[in-house]
C-alpha cells in the first residue's frame, strides 16, 4: 500500500494538473467566443457569394472556365484542415480518421495532400501520400490573406490538370460540444442544378467570361476560408470541452485520493493506539 507521503505527493501533482487544464479551458472558452463570431461573420459573404454564383451560372451556362472542367477522377487533391496544437480531445484524430476513411479505397500515388495545421502534417508525414503544400493554422485571427497562398496552390494543381478533383476535409462547427468532420467537394465547381429558367437577362461587365474568370477563383478562396474559420471554432470548442472534462476528472481523482489518504492516516493512528495500549497492558 502507498505510504501517506506518496499519496500526499500524488494529490499535489493532480491538483497542479487540474490548475493547468482549468486555465486551458478558460483560454479556449475565450478564444472560442472570438472564433465563433468570426465564423458567423464569414457566413453572409460566403452565402451571398454562393447566390451570386448561382445567378451567374444560370445566366451564362455555356461559359467555359478551367475551374469548371469536369475530368474523369484519376488524381485527386485533398485539403485537410487540422490544428497546430493538440490537447483538443478527439478533434484532430476525428478529422484524420475522416480523411483516412475517405482515402481508403484509393491508390496513395493518386493523392496530393494539402495540409493545414501541424498535427495534420505530423499525421500524414509518415504515410505514403505526397504532400503538395502545408500551412500552419494560427490559433486566433485567421484572415483571408492567410489562406491565399494555399488557395492559389490548389487552383494551380487543378488548372494544370495535375489533379482532377479537389476535396476539403474539415471539422464543421455545430456547437461547442459537437463538431462534425465533413468532406466537401471543392473542385470542379458544379453549377447549381438548373431547375429554374434563366432569371432575367443580366448585364455583364466586363463580359461573362471575364467575370467568371474573376469570380470563380474568389469563390474557391471563400470556400476554403469559410472551412478554416469553422475549423478554428471547432478546435477551440473541442479543446474547451476536453479540458472541462479533464478538470472534472482531476477533481474526482483528488476526491478518491483524499479518501485513500484519510483511510491510510486513520489506519496509522489506530495502529499506533493499538500498539500503545497493548504495550501498556503488557506492563500491568
Amino acid at each position: 500500500m502507498a505510504s501517506i507521503r506518496d499519496i500526499r505527493q500524488r494529490i499535489k501533482v493532480v491538483r497542479n494538473i487540474q490548475k493547468i487544464t482549468n486555465a486551458m479551458k478558460m483560454v479556449a472558452a475565450a478564444r472560442l467566443k472570438k472564433a465563433q463570431d468570426r465564423a458567423m461573420a464569414a457566413r453572409p459573404y460566403a452565402d451571398t457569394m454562393g447566390q451570386v454564383m448561382e445567378n451567374l451560372s444560370r445566366a451564362a451556362a455555356s461559359v467555359d472556365h478551367p475551374l469548371l472542367r469536369v475530368r474523369p477522377e484519376e488524381n485527386i487533391g485533398v485539403i485537410v484542415i487540422g490544428a497546430d496544437r493538440g490537447l483538443a480531445g478527439s478533434y484532430n484524430s476525428n478529422v484524420m480518421r475522416a480523411t483516412v476513411r475517405f482515402l481508403r479505397d484509393r491508390d496513395p500515388d493518386t493523392v496530393r495532400l494539402v495540409l493545414l495545421g501541424r498535427k495534420a502534417l505530423d499525421f500524414f508525414r509518415r504515410r505514403r501520400y505526397s504532400i503538395a503544400e502545408t500551412l500552419s493554422v494560427p490559433t486566433s485571427n485567421v484572415t483571408f490573406a492567410d489562406i491565399r497562398p494555399v488557395a492559389a496552390k490548389v487552383r494551380d494543381l487543378f488548372e494544370s490538370a495535375e489533379v482532377d478533383a479537389v476535396y476539403l476535409v474539415y471539422s464543421q462547427f455545430v456547437t461547442a460540444m459537437t463538431q462534425r468532420p465533413t468532406v466537401l467537394k471543392l473542385l470542379p465547381i458544379e453549377p447549381a442544378a438548373d431547375e429554374l429558367a434563366p432569371s432575367g437577362e443580366f448585364i455583364f461587365e466586363p463580359g461573362a467570361e471575364q467575370l467568371f474568370g474573376a469570380l470563380l477563383p474568389r469563390y474557391v478562396d471563400t470556400q476554403i476560408y469559410r472551412a478554416l474559420v469553422e475549423a478554428v471554432a471547432s478546435e477551440h470548442g473541442a479543446r474547451m470541452t476536453a479540458m472541462a472534462a479533464a478538470t472534472t476528472n482531476a477533481a474526482d481523482m483528488i476526491d478518491s485520493l483524499s479518501l485513500t489518504y484519510n483511510k491510510a492516516r486513520q489506519a496509522a493512528i489506530t495502529k499506533e493506539i493499538t500498539e500503545i495500549v497493548s504495550a501498556a497492558e503488557a506492563l500491568v
Binding site: 464569414a42 451571398t48 457569394m49 445567378n55 483571408f144 432575367g200 437577362e201 448585364i203 461587365e205 466586363p206
Partner: protein, 140 residues
C-alpha cells in the same frame, strides 16, 4: 413602378459592412469605369476595382467608402456588393494607409526584384492611395 429606393448590402469576408433598404443611389468603381445604380436598375453583374463607393440614402444623407475591389450584383431591386475590403471614409485609418503607402513606394524604388513583387507593391500602393484619397475627401 418600382419604388424610388432599393436595398443595398455590402459584405466583406469578415463582416457585413452595410445593410440598408432605403438607398436612393449608389456609385461604384466598375472595372470599366464608375457605374451608377438607381432603383429599378436592370439585372447587372460587374467586377469592381479599387476606388470609392458613394451611397446616397432616401433622406439625401451621403456615405463614402473606400474599397479594394470586388463584385456587384443587382437584381430584383436589390444590390449586393461583395467587396474584398470596404471601409467607411470617416473610419479609415489614415496613419496606417500612410505607412502602407511609404512601404509600397520603398519597395517600388528598390527595383530589380521579382516582377510579381513589383506588381504586388504596385497594387498595395494603389490601395493605400485610394484609402487616403477617400479619407481626405470625406474629412477635408
Amino acid at each position: 413602378m418600382p419604388g424610388k429606393t432599393f436595398h443595398l448590402e455590402i459584405v466583406t469576408p469578415d463582416r457585413v459592412v452595410l445593410s440598408d433598404d432605403r438607398v436612393a443611389s449608389v456609385i461604384v468603381p466598375g472595372s470599366q469605369g464608375y457605374l451608377g445604380v438607381l432603383a429599378g436598375h436592370a439585372p447587372l453583374l460587374a467586377e469592381l476595382k479599387v476606388g470609392q463607393i458613394d451611397i446616397r440614402r432616401e433622406d439625401n444623407s451621403e456615405l463614402a467608402m473606400a474599397t479594394s475591389g470586388g463584385f456587384i450584383e443587382v437584381s430584383e431591386n436589390k444590390a449586393i456588393i461583395l467587396a474584398d475590403t470596404a471601409e467607411i471614409a470617416l473610419e479609415i485609418d489614415v496613419s496606417r494607409a500612410e505607412d502602407a503607402k511609404t512601404r509600397a513606394e520603398d519597395r517600388l524604388r528598390r527595383r530589380g526584384e521579382a516582377e510579381t513583387d513589383a506588381a504586388r507593391a504596385d497594387a498595395a500602393l494603389t490601395r493605400a492611395l485610394n484609402r487616403l484619397h477617400v479619407a481626405e475627401h470625406a474629412q477635408g
